[in-house]
Symmetry: C2
Subunit: 277 residues, 2 copies
């Protein structure tokens, strides 16, 4: 693939953090691979004054570049979005576009209050995310075994196969208490799960990885060690996969998957994603 | 506020994880507070066969509930989205709705290839996120000071004011190497920053918190301790804020802000969010 030649500027305008709009715009714009998008996030636009200032920035950009930028907006209050909508841009109204359809489908009006001060008092759901992050940190790498019965899921696998980032992502995104526990050479010699984990078999989910990739990751941490050798990696992975098959632990390979993809699979497999239909 | 009385089912259908669509739908649907939405995510719909199965689930739901569910879709390939689009639902085509406008604005066709196998080889950007997570973990709570010069930002503040979850969020979402360092009573007695931090003043960002909230959080960790007493919390917070003002460190209160909001403010303040216009 050759480098993209065309540059375009994209503004993300939100009355809150703009993270939803930014994630969304990344996904949509990834369908235009020839273009190198420069994203500018303008968060916390919660007054007509700030909206005017944002509109000025957009107009300045349009003038300098000689073409109107794309603007992804999640503003919902009409008097705030108006100056942006009227600026020199291609205006993409992320929420407004759908809210009308949804109002018709549900037979009711929306409250037009996205984002703004929704953290005024921290919600129960928010607190449970923070609690899950603390839990996952405390139960990283098998370091604190007494809370395992509170875990929603316990990830197992060889050292450096991706357990820690996945645990943290599950906690942060889904408020899931995800512990993780390493499978180590002495487990393989013994040929059974660590005794600590036996009572929690239903919560276990395994991660594996290709040997070449594992060796690469381990080399970064401990260059030229026995631990990072391809021979050792192959041996540990084969033994871990054998153990997981024997113990009927669902598992997947992390080699070509992102933490988002791994987490989604974990949710499906351990039944944390309710399947009513 | 009384409990919502109306229940509606929402399907999130994606050829990848569905996380973008889920986040987006949460935001849009939060404008309909009277309704209790039950969200069902159907990820990895990457074949006509899986799409048909998903359409069947949607139809089953519509029939049992006597009303069509909402469906948020990020499917881009027409032959995959067709069965869903034709099922008994209110179909909300998240990407398709905007792609046409964007094609016109950019004067080119999209490649219609969102999501699918974009992690085939792990991208440089992805690897830097994982690296940032590892960095933030290694540099949590001032535990490893030698890598601080690699940090993009160093969060400072009293114990339990929100530094750790914010550091991890910055790393996970933005590949930002965020270290964090506690301000402790002996720093306040001395009346200056820890010497370790002196060379990195430009990277410091402070977090503070209301005393009552801090006491609550600390009580959860160490009930009825001196550490958790309102008196101690008040003293530490006042001293920390004095120190940050004296040292010209930008700071904010975490009390009513989510980690997303705090992270967004940090990005703005430390100039990690490029402001070209």
């Amino acid at each position: 693939m050759t480098a993209p030649l065309i540059e375009r500027t994209v503004f993300i305008v939100s009355d809150s953090t703009g993270i939803t709009a930014e994630t969304f715009s990344h996904s949509v714009l990834s369908q235009f691979e020839q273009i190198n998008f420069q994203q500018i996030r303008i968060p916390f636009i919660d007054s007509a004054e700030k909206a005017l200032e944002a509109a000025n920035r957009i107009n300045r950009c349009a003038q300098e570049q000689g073409q109107p930028p794309l603007v992804f907006s999640t503003l919902v209050e009409p008097e705030i979005s108006l100056p942006i909508r009227e600026s020199n841009c291609t205006f993409l109204d992320l929420f407004g576009t759908f809210v009308q359809h949804i109002e018709i489908a549900l037979g009711m009006k929306s409250s037009h209050t996205v984002g703004r001060s929704h953290m005024g008092g921290k919600s129960k759901q928010y607190n449970s995310r923070i609690e899950a992050i603390n839990f996952s940190l405390a139960h990283d790498d098998g370091q604190f075994i007494h809370g395992l019965k509170q875990a929603d899921v316990i990830l197992v696998g060889v050292s450096r196969c991706g357990k820690t980032p996945t645990s943290l992502y599950l906690a942060m995104q889904y408020a899931i208490k995800a512990a993780n526990f390493p499978l180590i050479p002495e487990d393989f010699d013994r040929g059974s799960l660590p005794a600590t984990l036996a009572p929690f078999r239903q919560k276990l989910f395994g991660l594996s990885i290709q040997a070449a990739r594992l060796a690469e990751v381990r080399h970064e941490r401990r260059p030229n060690s026995e631990y990072a050798s391809i021979k050792q990696c192959r041996h540990e992975i084969a033994a871990a996969e054998r153990l997981m098959r024997m113990e009927n632990i669902p598992w997947l390979s992390t080699t070509t998957r992102s933490i988002e993809e791994i987490s989604t699979k974990v949710l499906e497999e351990v039944g944390l994603n309710r399947r009513t239909y």
